[in-house]
Amino acid sequence: MSETPRDDLLRTAEIACEAALKAGAEFADALVEHGRNLSVSVEKNAIKSTNSRRVSSVSVRAFVAGGTGWYSASTTSEAAARDAGRRAGELALVAEPDPDFVALVAPEPYPHVPALYDQSLASLSAAEIAAWITQSIESARGVASEALVSGEASTHWREAALVNSLGVRASQRTTHASVYAQVVIRRDGGVGSFYEWDSARKLGDLSPAGIGAAAATEALRYLASRPIKTATLPVIFGPLAARGLYLGLCGAASAEEIQRKRSFLAEKKGQPVASEHLTLVDDPLIGGGLASGSFDGDGYPHRRVTLVDRGVLQTYLHSNYTARKSGEANTGHATRVGIAPTNVSPVPGAKTAAQLIAEVEDGIYVALGQPSPDTASGQISALVDAGFRIQKGELTYPLEKTMVAGNAIEILQGIDAVSSDYREEPGLIMPTIRVRGMRVASGE
C-alpha cells in the first residue's frame, strides 16, 4: 500500500457532502475513515486476550447560516454516507444561525509530512505484536522475579479522506504502534509500581525490548513510600509529569475557550504567562511524529507554531471558525469536534535534569501526576502519583499521599529551569521542568 488512501474513500466523502447540500446545507464537509486495530493484552505475566478490530466511520458537518448539523455513522458504505449527509443537512436547517461562521476552508496545497505510514508495521501479525509484550514480561522479571506485568501491545492502520463543498480533498494513510507495561512489585511489605511505554508510526522508531525492565527498575524505587510535612517547596516535574503541566496550558489556550470566556488565558495573548525559561513549539510537520499530519480536522494545512516564546503567549490555538471569528491567523488546530494541540515540545534549557535536582536543598520530584490546571480558574490541585523527596540535591525516598497546588500562571512564572536533556518520542521532546516553589500538601 502507498501513503495515499484509495480513491473510493474520497468518493464516499464526496457523496456525503453532496447529500448534505441537496438537503439544504450551504456548506458541508465529510470525513471518512477505515482501518484495523490489532492488540494483545497482558495480565499477570500472561496473555489475557488477543484482539482484532475493524473500524470504519463517516462524519458529516453541514452548515446553514452558520448553524451546524452533524451526523456520524459507523460504516463507510455509500448508502450510509448519503444518509449521514442528508441527516446532517436536515439538522443544519433547524440549528440556530451563528453569525460568526463565515465559510469552510478553501483548498490550499498541503505540506508533505513523511513517514506517517509504514507498510512493514501495517503488515505485522498478532503473533509478532505479542512478542513485544512478552519480551516486556521477560525483561521485567529479569530485573525482579516477583514482578507482575500488565499491559498491552497494539498496532493500527487508518485511511482517512476529508472533503468539503469548497473543493478541499485531503487524504492520509497512517500507522501507529505502541507498547505499554505496568509493573507491580511487592517486596518487604511494600508495593512499588511504575509504567513505561513506547509509541511510533514507523517500526524502526519503536523500541519495545527494554520497556518491562525500565518499568520494573522504577517500580523497585517506589517500594517504601511515605508522606512528608506540608510545606512550600521547589518542585521538579519529570518529563511525563511536566507534559501534563504544559498541555494544560495548551488546553486553556484554545481559541474556542478564549472566545467563550471560559479560560484563564483570556486577554493574555502577548502577555507573559510563564517565566522566560519556557518556550513551547507545536510542530505537526515532523516526519513520523506521533501527532503529525498534513491537515487538521477542517482540512486546513498544518503548520509549525510557536505558542509560548520565552514565557510570552504568542497565539491562541485556532480552528477555521475561531480564526475567522477573531480575525486572527488560523493555526490549523481544528479537530472534528474542537481544538487540540499536536506535537507540543518545550525548548530545552542549559542544565541537565541531574543538575536541576542537585541544586535543590529541600524539595520534591514528581515523576508521574496530572498537574493540569482547571481551564476556567487556572487552579492546580493534583496528586503526586509517583515522586520523590529531594534532600540536599538527592532523591532520598518515594512519596505517598502528597499533593501539589497553586495558580497555573504563578507556577509557570515560577519555572526557573528547563533541562537540557529530555525523554524523546517521535515528534516530541519532553524535558524536566523545575518550579521555584509550590504548595505541597502531605500527610506526615
Partner: protein, 470 residues
C-alpha cells in the same frame, strides 16, 4: 436489519463456531442511535445525531481468548471475524499461564427493555430546545452580571445489545438513556470559577420534565458565583466529611475498582487475599446494585448474559465479595455476579461496576460535624482516580466548606484530596442517614467507557490530605 434477522444471523454464527469446535463462543451485536444538542451563549447552533452498529465475537479456543469485531453487518464479514477471533485465540494460547475456565451458568433466553414514559425519539426538537433554553435562562438569572459563559447539553441514546453464546443464551436488551449537563463560567474581574451539574438516567424525556431548573442549572450558577469570592482551600491533613457526591467518588474509585476480580487476579488490587477480613470501619456497608430502578448504571443482564442484581461488597467493614465475570468467577470458585460489561460491540466484556454505594446510617449531618474543631466538608464531587495496586486515590471536589468549632463556616474553592483506600475506610467515623446516589458518569477502564452511578450518605473520616493552597 430487524432485531429478529440479527438474532438469526447471530445464531448461525454460533452454529459455525460450534462446528469449528471452539470451547466457548459469544457473538454479540450492539447498536445505538443518539441525538445531541448544545446551547451556548443563548444559541443552539450545534445539533447532531449518529448511529453505530456492529458485531463482536469472542472465542475460547485452546484455553485462550481471541476477540474480533466488525462494523459490517454482512454475514460473510461476520464469518471472517469468527475466523479472526479463532486465529487471535491461537496467538493467546502460545503465551498462556493457565487455561481459562468459565463458571457454569444456565442458558437464558430473554428479551428485556428499560421502561420509560416519553420516547425521546418522538419528542420534537423544538420541545427539547425549549427545555434546554429554560435551564440556561434560569442559570443566567441566578448568576446575573457574573455570567461569562453558559453551556447546556442535552443527549439521548437508544441502545440495543443482543448476546448469543454457545451455551444457548440468547438475550436482547434495549435501553434508553437521557442526559442533561450544564456548565457555567462565572467571572468577577480576572477571577473565573466554573461549576457544573449533571442529571442522567435510564429514562425518556420525562427526566428533563422532572428536573427543576432551581435544582440543576440555577444551582450550578449559585455555586459558581459564590466561589468567586471564596478563598482557596487549605493545604494539609484535616478531618473531613464527604458529601454523598464525594462518597460516590470514594466508593467507586477507592474501593470499587479494587473489588473488580480481574484486577484482583492480575495482582493489582490491594484487596487481594482480604476476602472475609476487616477492610473498613464497622459503619461501612457497600453494595453494587445494577438493579437500581432507572439509574444511569443499571442493567438487567451483563454483556455475558448473566443477570445483574445487588452485590454485597462490604458488610459492617468486612469484605464480603468481589465483582465477577464468568472467567473470574471460574478462576476464583465464586458465583458470577453479572458484572462483565462491554462498551459496544468492539470491545470484549470486562469486570465493571454499576451503581456503587455506601449504605446510610443513623446520624444527622449536624451530629457528624458537631465534634470537629477544624475540618472540611467536601461537596460537588467531580472526578477521581485510583492506583489500585497501592491503594492511593484522589477525588476532586467542586467546593468545600470549612468546619470550625463544630459548625459549618466559610466556603472554599475547588480542591483535590487524596488518601490511601484502606486507611480512609478504617478511619471512617460515621455515616449519615441522608443518602443520595446521584453521580452518573462514564467510567474508563482498558479503553472502555461504561455508564455508572455512585453515592451514599455523608461520611466522616478522621483525616484526609487536602491539596489546597492556603
Amino acid at each position: 436489519m430487524t432485531p429478529s434477522a440479527i438474532k438469526q444471523q447471530l445464531e448461525r454464527l454460533r452454529e459455525e463456531a460450534l462446528r469449528r469446535r471452539v470451547e466457548f463462543a459469544e457473538v454479540r451485536y450492539a447498536a445505538s442511535t443518539h441525538s445531541a444538542l448544545m446551547l451556548q451563549d443563548g444559541r443552539a447552533d450545534r445539533i447532531g445525531a449518529g448511529d453505530r452498529a456492529g458485531m463482536g465475537v469472542r472465542v475460547l479456543a485452546s484455553g485462550a481468548w481471541g476477540f474480533a469485531s466488525t462494523e459490517s453487518l454482512d454475514e460473510q464479514d461476520w464469518l471472517a471475524s469468527l475466523g479472526d477471533a479463532i486465529a487471535m485465540a491461537r496467538v493467546s494460547a502460545g503465551h498462556l499461564a493457565e487455561p481459562v475456565t468459565l463458571a457454569e451458568r444456565p442458558a437464558i433466553v430473554d428479551d428485556v427493555r428499560t421502561t420509560f414514559a416519553k420516547d425521546p425519539s418522538q419528542v420534537p426538537l423544538e420541545a427539547k430546545l425549549a427545555a434546554v433554553r429554560g435551564f440556561e435562562e434560569a442559570s443566567g438569572c441566578a448568576a446575573c452580571s457574573h455570567v461569562a459563559n453558559l453551556m447546556t447539553v442535552y443527549n439521548d441514546a437508544h441502545q440495543l445489545e443482543i448476546i448469543c453464546n454457545t451455551r444457548g443464551t440468547l438475550i436482547s436488551s434495549e435501553s434508553v438513556r437521557t442526559l442533561l449537563w450544564h456548565a457555567i463560567t462565572a467571572q468577577n474581574g480576572s477571577v473565573r470559577q466554573r461549576a457544573t451539574e449533571v442529571r442522567a438516567a435510564q429514562s425518556g424525556f420525562e427526566l428533563v420534565e422532572a428536573t427543576p431548573a432551581a435544582d440543576f442549572s440555577a444551582k450550578a450558577a449559585k455555586r459558581a458565583v459564590s466561589l468567586l469570592s471564596a478563598p482557596a482551600a487549605p493545604a494539609g491533613t484535616f478531618p473531613a466529611i464527604f458529601h454523598p457526591s464525594i462518597t460516590g467518588l470514594l466508593v467507586h474509585e477507592a474501593l470499587g475498582h479494587n473489588t473488580e476480580a480481574d484486577l484482583v487476579l492480575a495482582g493489582q488490587s490491594i484487596l487481594d487475599g482480604k476476602l472475609g477480613t476487616k477492610v473498613a470501619a464497622d459503619c461501612i456497608n457497600v453494595v453494587d446494585d445494577s438493579g437500581l430502578p432507572s439509574s444511569w448504571g443499571s442493567y438487567c443482564y451483563d454483556s455475558e448474559g448473566t443477570p445483574g442484581g445487588r452485590r454485597v461488597i462490604v458488610e459492617k467493614g468486612v469484605l464480603k465479595g468481589f465483582l465477577h465475570s464468568l472467567e473470574t468467577a471460574g478462576r476464583m470458585g465464586a458465583a458470577p455476579s453479572g458484572s462483565a460489561r462491554a462498551d459496544g460491540f468492539s470491545h470484549r466484556p470486562i469486570v465493571r461496576m454499576s451503581n456503587t454505594m455506601i449504605l446510610p446510617g443513623k446520624a444527622s449531618l449536624e451530629e457528624l460535624i458537631a465534634d470537629i474543631d477544624l475540618g472540611i466538608l467536601l461537596r460537588a464531587g467531580q472526578w477521581g482516580y485510583v492506583w489500585c495496586e497501592k491503594g492511593q486515590y484522589t477525588c476532586h471536589a467542586g467546593e468545600g466548606v470549612m468546619i470550625r468549632n463544630g459548625q459549618l463556616a466559610e466556603q472554599v474553592r475547588d480542591v483535590s484530596v487524596s488518601g490511601m483506600v484502606l486507611e480512609t475506610l478504617a478511619n471512617a467515623l460515621g455515616v449519615s442517614r441522608d443518602f443520595e446516589v446521584q453521580m452518573p458518569g462514564n467510567c474508563g477502564k482498558d479503553g472502555q467507557s461504561m455508564p455508572v452511578n455512585g453515592g451514599g450518605p455523608y461520611v466522616k473520616v478522621r483525616e484526609i490530605v487536602v491539596g489546597g493552597q492556603a
